[in-house]
């Protein structure tokens, strides 16, 4: 392992990692792709804000209001810097990645809207992929049903890669938006954004990235990616629940109709009409997740202090180690790339003749190994591979090779139980 990266020191920052589970089992947390654990730096920042700096933001003119607003807006600034956004005003706080994806989907085909980029009706097309999380499928299905537009999708190859062979037929001048995962939450695959984007630009469409599984794990720079929208979620990035992020180009935020209406997203309100605040506030109706944004600010500070490059390198080593070790378990089949090329630290697999639900439960019950089992909110991808479910181990900065050893030991035991 990278010697500069002191995983034991990092583990001390995460209180739960030294927790003993009922029955005296140690915790081996390999479910960060589902949601990550939180360092004491985030927890304490939130506790302190709640205890002595809390008030509503924006509206209040007193000391607490000013402190709370400052902390909330500082978090926006931190997040903007973290993903390389040209302006903090391009960062919209949502409750999770799903809301961010829906916010963009609802911008299309809204009769209120006049910008041609966001009109949507029969004949218009939306393109997603077969490896998407439900949160990047269902909003577009609902949009297609509301507007009569057509939903299309990229297939996935047997190796778990985006099938780009029909890119030019899929993305055409009828396409209004292409939305795909930056990194798959099942396969670990990192998608070739630049190649897709090139075609999207030719077609004159917009492009969104679901970066829920990339932003927490490696350096992501929206300016370098050059896409139009990007969504991610705080709870997978050592931040709290209840906070997500939509980044979008300023001019697109300007062009989009409002989504949720209410306090703080307005400029002036009469009974019969309203004018709206400039972005990002235009999309932040009501009291925002204040403490959660502040917590996310502390989370990106934490990740930055460790270093995103170092985190990515650490996860790469863990993935290499895991792919090797899992390869030796009889009957185990990895679903997704088995090499390290363009893949992150998420490894899903099947174990012959044993249902993942049984794998997961015994791993937890007997070894304290927390893996995720099921379709991981990517049912169409599992249908594509003809399997109802997989077992998924996902790694983060606090995981160790010893934990992967525990996983493998557990799998051998599971095989014995069901032999």
């Amino acid at each position: 392992m990278d010697t500069a990266f002191d995983v034991e020191r990092i583990r001390k920052d995460f209180p739960v990692l030294s927790r003993e589970l009922p029955g005296g089992r140690p915790l081996v947390y390999l479910d960060s792709g589902n949601s990550s654990q939180k360092p004491v730096q985030v927890i304490e920042t939130m506790r302190e804000h709640l205890a002595v700096h809390y008030a509503n933001v924006g509206r209040a003119m007193h000391v607490l209001g000013a402190e709370s607003t400052e902390a909330y807006e500082a978090a926006r600034e931190k997040v903007a810097a973290f993903v390389g956004a040209p302006s903090r005003d391009e960062i919209v706080f949502t409750k999770n990645a799903s809301e961010a994806l829906n916010l963009v989907a609802y911008a299309f085909g809204n009769p209120i809207n006049e910008d041609p980029r966001f009109t949507m009706g029969p004949g218009d097309e939306i393109v997603i992929s077969e490896m998407e999380h439900h949160s990047n499928i269902v909003p577009w299905q609902l949009l297609a049903r509301r507007t009569g537009a057509t939903l299309k999708w990229f297939s996935v190859t047997d190796e778990g890669r985006l099938d780009l062979s029909n890119l030019d037929e899929l993305v055409t001048e009828r396409t209004k938006i292409v939305s795909i995962a930056h990194q798959s939450n099942v396969l670990g695959t990192v998608n070739p954004v630049a190649r897709v984007l090139e075609r999207v630009r030719q077609a004159g469409a917009l492009m969104m990235l679901d970066a829920s599984q990339s932003v927490p794990h490696k350096p992501v720079d929206v300016t370098a990616l050059d896409v139009d929208f990007l969504a991610f979620t705080g709870h997978k990035a050592v931040g709290p629940s209840g906070i997500g992020v939509l980044w979008a180009r300023a001019e697109l935020l300007d062009a989009m109709p409002p989504f949720l209406g209410g306090g703080e997203m307005i400029e002036a309100v009469w009974m019969d009409r309203s004018t709206y605040a400039p972005a990002p506030h235009k999309f932040e109706a009501g009291t925002p997740p204040i403490v959660e944004a502040v917590g996310l600010g502390a989370a990106v500070d934490y990740l930055s202090s460790v270093g995103m490059d170092a985190i990515a390198a650490h996860e790469r080593e863990l993935t290499r180690y895991a792919l090797e070790a899992l390869g030796e378990v009889p009957g185990l089949r990895v679903v997704g790339p088995t090499d390290l090329q363009d893949r992150g630290g998420t490894v899903s697999f099947t174990l012959e003749g044993i249902h993942p639900h049984d794998v997961g439960q015994i791993m937890d019950d007997e070894f304290g190994v927390a893996v995720r089992v099921g379709h991981h909110c990517a049912r169409p991808l599992h249908l594509r591979f003809g399997i109802p479910a997989t077992t998924r181990a996902s790694f983060y900065l606090y995981n160790t090779p010893a934990e992967i050893d525990a996983l493998v030991r557990g799998l051998h035991h599971v095989r014995k139980v069901f032999a």
Binding site: P356, H357, D365, P388, A389, F418
Partner: protein, 145 residues
């Protein structure tokens, strides 16, 4: 080990050696149930006889050990009992499963099915345990009509 509360010897036994598995003729009703969240499936046939007697419960399906073992245990409990008796068991089993681990199971009513008590603590697994039992209830309703 906590595992013992869930993967009872009896459950594993039924999973590895399912009782009464396979679809048989004759039957009064056949139903097909799916748990869409996890993909578990079961096809179940019921044959009723005189005096409300359950003559045969035959089934086929795929899924985790809990869902498969539950079907096997159900077959054993139901076959040869009366509809009324089995409905009482179904009701008690459902109550136990939906009790989030807070319900004290009635062993006299449940018989071997009490082995599933540990499942109630795992909301994600409750549906697996109930799949066959809900299919059975449905099949009974269809036989009657």
């Amino acid at each position: 080990m906590i595992a013992e509360s869930m993967y009872q010897e009896l459950i594993l036994e039924h999973y590895k050696h399912p009782q009464g598995r396979g679809l048989r003729d004759p039957f009064d009703a056949e139903v097909h149930h799916v748990n869409p969240t996890c993909g578990d499936e079961i096809t179940m046939r019921v044959k009723l006889g005189d005096g409300d007697k359950v003559e045969d419960v035959s089934y086929d399906g795929q899924g985790c050990s809990i869902s498969q073992a539950a079907a096997s245990v159900l077959h054993e409990l139901a076959t040869g009992s009366t509809v009324g008796e089995t409905l009482a068991v179904v009701e008690e089993f459902t109550r136990l499963m939906q009790g989030r681990g807070q319900v004290e199971p009635d062993e006299d009513v449940l018989g071997d099915a009490v082995a599933f008590a540990g499942v109630a603590k795992f909301p994600a697994r409750v549906k697996c345990a109930l799949l066959a039992w809900m299919a059975y209830k449905d099949a009974l309703a269809r036989s009657a009509s």
